[in-house]
Amino acid sequence: MKKIIFILYFLLNFDYLIADSTSINSNKIFKNLRCLICQGQSVADSNSEFAQTIKLVVKDKIEEGKTEKEIYNFLIEKYGEWIVYKPQLNIVNSALWLIPYLVLLFGGIIIFLLFKKRGNR
């Protein structure tokens, strides 16, 4: 039974696995890029001159064979980290990534302690 489920899962996700490994989804990149001259819009949502140019450059970079990370790094080098919505995992941003998990962990501990205390009563 487990084998059948595994095979079904593999077959259902096969296209996705191939697509992800051989090509980069430009729309995914556009959605993660901030339109710097717009009010709260991503490059994907905007039709401004800036967004249109960024779209062309990203498509060129994909055709050149650059990876998603290389494209982000190129744009970050030119426009700063503000251009990407999803902050990169580095020392400066580590707090952003770690704090939600720490809060979840300590919150869990606090809830656990409270329940334990109630159980003891």
């Binding site: 001159e49 140019t53 030119k78 426009y79 700063g80 302690l113």
Partner: protein, 172 residues
Amino acid sequence: MKRKVIKFFIIAILLFLLGVFFVGLNVSSIYDTKDLVGKKINKIEIEHFYNNTFITQKDLKRNHFTLINFWSSWCAPCREEHPFLLKLNQEKNIEILGVNFKDKKKHASEFLKKFGNPYDELAVDKFGKHSINFGVYGIPESILINNDLIIIKKFIGPINEDDMDFIRKIIN
């Protein structure tokens, strides 16, 4: 004891949140590309406006200083800065490279004929792709570089009298 630990964590989280808000609200959210100052521009290869040759970093290295000016005939603030560029063109130590941005050649030529040509070299960026390499996000925008292709200053928006004085001080 447990109560003390819980109190400590709650106070610590509140203090942290206050700290985040304090820092976040004091940081300017106005975007600019000043971080590019001091960095080197690589891979310059822009098509010449008048012929099919390319302007490369080799050409720019020959100049003491180069002011790369992104402009267009359809850009109103570009008209505003044009007289200052004409004045700057009279300076000896600086060459002005105009990059005609997403424009029609005919309109660009008419613009230069009407208002004068301040550019020592003129390039064309038909689709605006080259502008990304210079961290440009709107026009007019100008970038002052030295012969090592290091960015000395970026001028976002039209160049004015103060900017012109700044450039003069740097190049002289």
